[in-house]
């Protein structure tokens, strides 16, 4: 006999062995003792929680030679035949392979004949959600009033795909995911019986990875045993299962919260080098940020998080630098990346994009503050709105964390704050030309593009005088009344009051006019380059090289 995997070897054969589903086994056993056994059952639940096993146990319990009993004996021929899958009266049908209406018709043909040996004829249809609509409908009449010797047991992971007409004819049992403690108990029982030495921690890692599914846990345990045979060390388990190092998660979160793009990209590289699966890393990141969110939102997070005290402390320290709103937005990005990874052949890129996005997240401006600003704008003449765009360059910045208006008392205080701000900016006597153009760009890109070509002759809150090359497209466009009106409106929005705006042609040959923005940008770049050149020339190393090779500097390029 060849090797049988643990999940099959340890498939529960009695209701007692079936762990984590006491609500199901209790109900079924009571039904058997009171003689109220329904003729159709539907078992639903996640993978590997015991649906097929329960179906077989129920079949055995009903047909066992010891009479319908609450625990099958597993010794009589009837029980053994069912266990081996050779029984002539218990039909285990693969619903996903036999999906058509013809398959169901064939089943109905045979249904009227009495069972050949056992008490009942039992049809177990596994993966029943794959039956076609016609097949389901062909089953309806039979399912409603089957002959007394027939029982149906359906099992599926996807009950939502089953028509309601079928659902209403069945007794439905929802199988739960198995809790970590119960998984551990069962795993411990199995490894002890198999004579394997393994620590509780390693078992916990396996059970956690199994994610509430007994079969998943056992598949993983099998793999571990195949690798380590009878003595399992903790390191083997973590390396074999690719458990992501908590250090790496911490570094990643820190890089993201610290807005360090280079470090964030380095994390992706490290994940790749160590050979973790990108998706798994992403999911563990989700778990980590969930931890952060819980630490921020709940006064006593220990009850919700299954982590050690030192790890909790680490989360607390990190949480102190990140507001809850940001953590939630990080989570949104990660969750989106997780779904994207299911579709891409290049998961590393998805991870890198997500990390970059997170590291460049603009800070949240509290809605309260925005409303205040809006009110000031609406009231008109209330002053300018200072710094319209939040800045994110500064590393761990003091976030304008406005406390949620928990009570009415706090409201006036924050309003006062908001009002002080604009009035203080009102005293500023000059406006910054580039900032204004940037502001215009946010509303009307076209006009901003025109303005970029203009030389600002006078720029003050009361008066704007901008010159353009005579006869140019920019001049005529801006002199167009519609554009001029739009510009005026925007200037009013920006300043709080309407300045006089003059668009004039640039006097020919005038060199006194200030450079327009484009020229200025070019100038700045040129200046930077010349400064660089200067620096390079002064560099001793370069000097040495120039001297030795009798060379000259052909060009300078910035690397970063």
């Amino acid at each position: 006999m060849s090797y049988l995997v643990l999940a099959r070897k340890w498939r529960p054969q009695t209701f007692r062995d079936l762990i984590g589903q006491e609500h199901v086994s209790q109900t079924l056993q009571n039904a058997i003792t009171s003689g109220r056994v329904a003729h159709a059952f539907l078992f639903t639940g996640a993978r590997g929680v015991g649906k097929t096993s329960s179906a077989r146990i129920l079949a055995k319990a009903l047909t066992c030679e010891q009479g319908p009993t609450i625990e099958p004996c597993n010794a009589c021929p009837a029980c053994q035949e069912i266990t081996n899958g050779t029984s002539v009266d218990v039909f285990e049908i693969d619903g996903a392979s036999n999906t058509s209406v013809d398959d169901i018709r064939e089943l109905r043909e045979g249904i009227k004949y009495l069972p050949s040996r056992l008490r009942y004829k039992i049809f177990i249809i596994d993966e029943v959600h794959m039956l076609s609509t016609n097949a389901f409908n062909a089953l309806l009449k039979t399912l409603e009033e089957p002959p007394p010797h027939v029982k149906f047991i359906f099992a599926t992971t996807e009950p939502h795909k089953i028509p309601i007409t079928i659902l209403s004819r069945c007794q439905r049992f929802d199988f739960r995911r198995i809790s970590l403690a119960k998984l551990l108990e069962r795993l411990r029982h199995i490894v002890d019986s198999e004579g394997v030495a393994i620590s509780d921690e390693a078992l916990a890692v396996i059970a956690r990875k199994g994610d509430g599914s007994m079969r998943d846990s056992l598949s993983i345990l099998d793999q571990v045993l195949a690798f380590c045979s009878t003595t399992v060390s903790d390191e083997d388990v973590t390396s074999l299962l690719g458990v992501v190092d908590r250090r790496l998660l911490h570094d990643a979160a820190q890089a993201v919260i610290g807005r360090d793009t280079a470090a964030a990209l380095d994390i992706a590289r490290r994940v790749d080098t160590v050979g973790y699966s990108m998706r798994q890393f992403c999911q563990e990141m989700i778990g980590y940020f969930r931890g952060l969110a819980i630490v921020l939102a709940v006064p006593d997070p220990a009850s919700l998080l299954d982590i050690s005290e030192s790890e909790l402390q680490e989360l607390r320290e990190l949480a102190a630098t990140a507001p809850l709103d940001d953590v939630q937005r990080h989570l949104t990005i990660l969750l989106k990346a997780d779904t994207e990874m299911t579709q891409t052949a290049f998961p590393r890129l998805v991870l890198e994009l997500a990390l970059l996005k997170m590291a460049r997240l603009a800070p949240v401006v509290p809605a309260q503050l925005l409303i205040e600003r809006l009110k000031t704008l609406e009231s008109g003449g209330g002053g300018t709105v200072a710094s319209p765009a939040p800045r994110w360059e500064s590393a761990p910045r003091p976030v304008p964390r406005q406390p949620e208006p928990q009570s009415q008392k706090q409201q006036p205080a924050s309003r006062e704050n908001a009002q002080v701000q604009p009035s203080s900016t009102k005293t500023v006597s000059t406006i910054d030309w580039p900032t204004f153009v940037e502001f215009v760009k946010g509303r009307r890109v076209g006009i901003a593009a025109l303005l970029e070509h203009g030389s600002p002759l006078t720029v003050s809150p009361e008066h704007l005088k901008i010159a353009f090359p005579p006869g140019s497209f920019y001049l005529t466009s801006l002199q167009d009344p519609e554009n001029l009106a739009a510009l005026k409106t925007m200037a009013r929005e920006f300043l709080g009051h309407e300045p006089t705006i003059q668009i004039i042609p640039l006097a020919a040959g005038s060199t006194a006019a200030p450079p327009n923005l484009l020229e200025k940008k070019k100038c700045d770049e040129a200046r930077e380059l010349s400064e660089l050149k200067c620096d390079v020339r002064q560099n001793q190393l370069v000097e040495g090289v120039l001297e030795t090779f009798n060379g000259e500097i052909a060009g300078i390029r910035k690397l970063s």
Binding site: F227, L240, T261, L356
Partner: protein, 320 residues
């Protein structure tokens, strides 16, 4: 083909070897790892070892020789027929597995690209995968385990295959008699996939790629004529479309890394162009462009009109 023919997958091979030695061979495996990192080779070696009975697979007995020439009667291969593995293929497999093995101790089956199992086919496989008749061994291969049904994964022992280190790929490509420079570029572009590296060094893929990327980068919205001409040319080589988009994405990723402050660049032969594009675009713009390419890739899988899609893509990517 024995385990010694598998390069750079020591951990996965160790797991398999030990399970052979401990007689703990499971009936279902899922090998995951990028395309061309040795999953198939390992699966064949593993089945050869099982058929042969000696630890490694001797390579000289009739069974091993039949495996080597790919005509062993007890080995069943399932590959996607078109875009999917269809339910009929799975039914045929089930019929085959129901028969006794012809000469080997048990039947072996390799299902490639398990993420491309049609949902109906995947469900049809579930019962077989849980309790295969006649203790057959089923090995599923998939570059993208996220696309595999969780009910399938739960029934398999999952083995992760790491992508090959760049040096290993370079060494292997060099051993195939390729110039040093080409081998280096191919290795860095391969992302650890031997199959991809070989595809790159064979044929004029490298120059074609450079030309393609340069053209895309030089296109401008102001010159719509060229955009349309380019898309038309693209339409004529539909079969290469997916590959080219991958290249473009890898190039844009370099730009992204460059802007994000990471020193690693995959397209080292195109470094000046990466610099240039990085100088013209902000990080957010590049992220947007990568998103556009991803959308296009997904659209191509759904049978859109490639020319229209390409036109849209290039217009979005073009310099304004």
């Amino acid at each position: 083909m024995s385990f010694s023919g598998v390069v750079g997958q020591d951990s996965a091979v160790t797991v398999l070897e030990r399970s052979l030695a401990a007689h703990r061979v499971a009936h279902a495996y899922l090998f995951t790892g990028i395309e061309g990192c040795g999953k198939r080779t390992t699966a064949l070696a593993f089945i050869e070892a099982i058929f042969c009975g000696r630890a490694e697979g001797c390579g000289s007995c009739p069974s091993c020789r039949k495996m080597a020439s790919g005509q062993h009667p007890d080995l069943h291969l399932v590959e996607p027929d078109g875009a999917f593995i269809k339910i009929d293929q799975i039914r045929e497999l089930q019929r085959q597995l129901a028969l006794r093995p012809y000469e080997a101790p048990r039947k072996g089956c390799i299902i490639e690209a398990a993420d491309r199992l049609h949902p109906a086919a995947a469900n049809a496989l579930l019962k077989t995968l849980e309790e295969p008749p006649g203790n057959a061994v089923l090995i599923l291969l998939s570059p993208n385990p996220a696309g595999v049904l969780p009910t399938i994964i739960s029934r398999c022992q999952q083995l992760r295959f790491a992508s090959l280190p760049q040096e290993t790929v370079e060494r292997l490509v060099l051993a195939g008699g390729v110039e040093q420079e080409a081998a280096r570029v191919a290795a860095s572009l391969s992302e650890g996939s031997m199959a991809k590296a070989l595809e790159i060094v064979n044929g004029a893929a490298l120059e074609e790629r450079a030309r393609f990327i340069e053209t895309v980068c030089s296109l401008s919205v102001n010159d719509a004529g060229r955009i349309f001409a380019f898309s038309e040319a693209f339409d004529k080589q539909k079969d290469k479309a997916a590959g080219m988009l991958d290249m473009l994405q890898s190039f844009l990723r370099d730009v992204l890394l460059r802007l994000g402050g990471s020193p690693e660049i995959v397209n080292c032969d195109l470094a000046p162009l990466v610099e240039q594009v990085a100088g013209h675009n902000s990080l957010d713009e590049v992220m947007g462009k990568i998103g556009t390419v991803t959308t296009m890739q997904q659209a191509l899988q759904r049978n859109v009109n490639p020319r229209l899609a390409m036109e849209t893509l290039v217009m979005r990517l073009a310099n304004t």
